[in-house]
């Protein structure tokens, strides 16, 4: 059996209390929300906190006020909310594509945005990892995917993160030093180990979505099975339009780097045009070129790269169809 290591479990009722508990626990303390990422990781001994601080009893984090979403809202709640489906279909859709209905009843928005990066050599039991010798993401020194590399290439595998970056959401964080608000794009590092710019003691409190005016976004996901599986590729596409012309755009890929990877060249190909076939093809080609998937998730590497072009094209075609 895969059991959790022993730890102390705390259930604070306020943010202040949670921060104090984390300060008390020091580096051995970790926050948990739905636990659908942290607990499997703890069973595989990726993370071994001595104190686990649950955020689920803090009413502030469950708030859904206007376009500000508390991070402990579950993915089921988020994807079922009619106002949300109407105003932020890409966010609701990405949330609905995560894992399975059971996991979405447990998993939260905040946990999804902070999801640990993934790799075939890392998401294995302790014994498995020990048998081939540990890699640098946990307990070892080498990278099994790119042995001469000084860094870890584990993959950002959240479905909602690319959408949050593409639509320009902002994140409210609270820590011992007080509050700060940062754009979603600045929440992530392109590093498999230090993949968040968030400090370990900071709590992600709220996601602030931009007012739904004049822009539209879609999310497309590639995975082996229609359920359960993490994205092997995620495409979030966002455009702002005025009178049929694209005035601004953002294309963000999930599953191809250690962070949600923005592709400015693809966005540039769309700006000041009409989302015509040529512009879409140019954007898809621009997204294909820099996408450098590594051989550490599902499917053949070169096929995954080819799919970038296909999925970006499909996402943009959906945006075009939906206009008006």
């Amino acid at each position: 059996m895969l059991r959790l290591p022993s730890f102390k479990y705390l259930q604070p009722k306020t943010l202040k209390e949670a921060l104090a508990m984390k300060a008390d626990a020091g580096p051995d303390g970790m926050y948990v929300a739905g636990g659908t990422d942290l607990y499997p990781n703890m069973k595989r001994r990726h993370q071994e906190p001595r104190t686990v601080i649950s955020l689920m009893a803090i009413p502030e984090l469950k708030r859904l006020e206007g376009w500000n979403v508390g991070t402990c809202v579950t993915l089921t709640e988020l994807s079922n909310l009619p106002t949300f489906q109407h105003s932020y279909p890409a966010v609701a859709h990405a949330a609905a594509l995560v894992s399975t209905p059971l996991l979405r009843n447990m998993g939260t928005l905040g946990g999804n945005l902070c999801l640990d990066t993934r790799c075939n050599y890392y998401d294995q039991t302790y014994e498995w990892r020990k048998a081939i010798d540990f890699c640098m993401k946990k307990d070892g020194h080498i990278c099994w995917v790119a042995p001469s590399s000084p860094r870890c290439w584990a993959v950002s595998s959240s479905d909602v993160a690319p959408v949050a970056v593409a639509i320009g959401a902002e994140f409210l964080l609270v820590g011992p030093q007080g509050e700060r608000v940062i754009p979603a794009g600045r929440f992530y590092h392109n590093d498999g180990i230090n993949y968040l710019t968030k400090q370990p003691d900071e709590i992600l409190v709220e996601v602030r979505l931009p007012a739904p005016d004049g822009w539209d976004a879609v999310y497309h996901k590639l995975r082996r099975r229609g359920s359960f599986d993490f994205p092997v590729l995620g495409v979030a596409a966002w455009v702002r339009r005025e009178g049929g012309r694209v005035t601004d755009a953002r294309i963000v890929l999930g599953g191809v780097a250690s962070w949600p990877q923005e592709i400015p060249e693809a966005a540039a190909a769309l700006r000041d045009g009409e989302l015509g076939d040529d512009a879409i093809a140019a954007a898809a080609a621009a997204a294909y070129r820099p996408a450098k998937p590594l051989d550490n998730t599902d499917f053949d590497l070169s096929w995954r790269k080819q799919m970038t072009r296909v999925y970006v094209k499909a996402a943009l075609e959906e945006l075009r169809q939906r206009r008006g």
Binding site: L2, S6, K8, Y9, P40, K43, S99, M106, S227
Partner: protein
Amino acid sequence: MRPDSKAKIAFELNGEPVEVAFAPHKTLLEVLREDLALTGTKHGCELGECGTCTVLLDGAPVLSCLVLGLACERRRVKTVEGLAQGSRLHPLQEAFAALGAAQCGYCTPAFLLTADALLADNPSPNRDDIKQALSGNLCRCTGYIKIYEAVELAAARLRGEKAEPARESLYGRR
């Protein structure tokens, strides 16, 4: 509390109040099977990847292998043991038995509970609603068709209709 001392919580289990003491890092699955001797809830992958450990927590299907026992204080838990009324099977259990929706049976408690939650929410689900609701539960034996048919049959009976299994479901196409 020290990490290795026992914790004690009270919650509602299949309609009855229970109190149970266990090591604080145990999952609900471990507490149910090991501390409450309710082995109807199965353990499979223990990592969220199979669904066989499903229970209803405050009415919603969740994976008991990833819920901490301590997180269930004062909450409502329903396991497969809570479906039958005495010796009378639940309509879902009857339909699963009648249609051969259980083969090895390892996934069955989880499917029954997930379907129970679906029908509480939506008494007349169509095939797509059922597929979607059950898409977090793996079955390696049945190929799922019998399970979908069983949920449809039970749903009809729960709505008060006099439904019988289709001949084709029982005997195949002739």
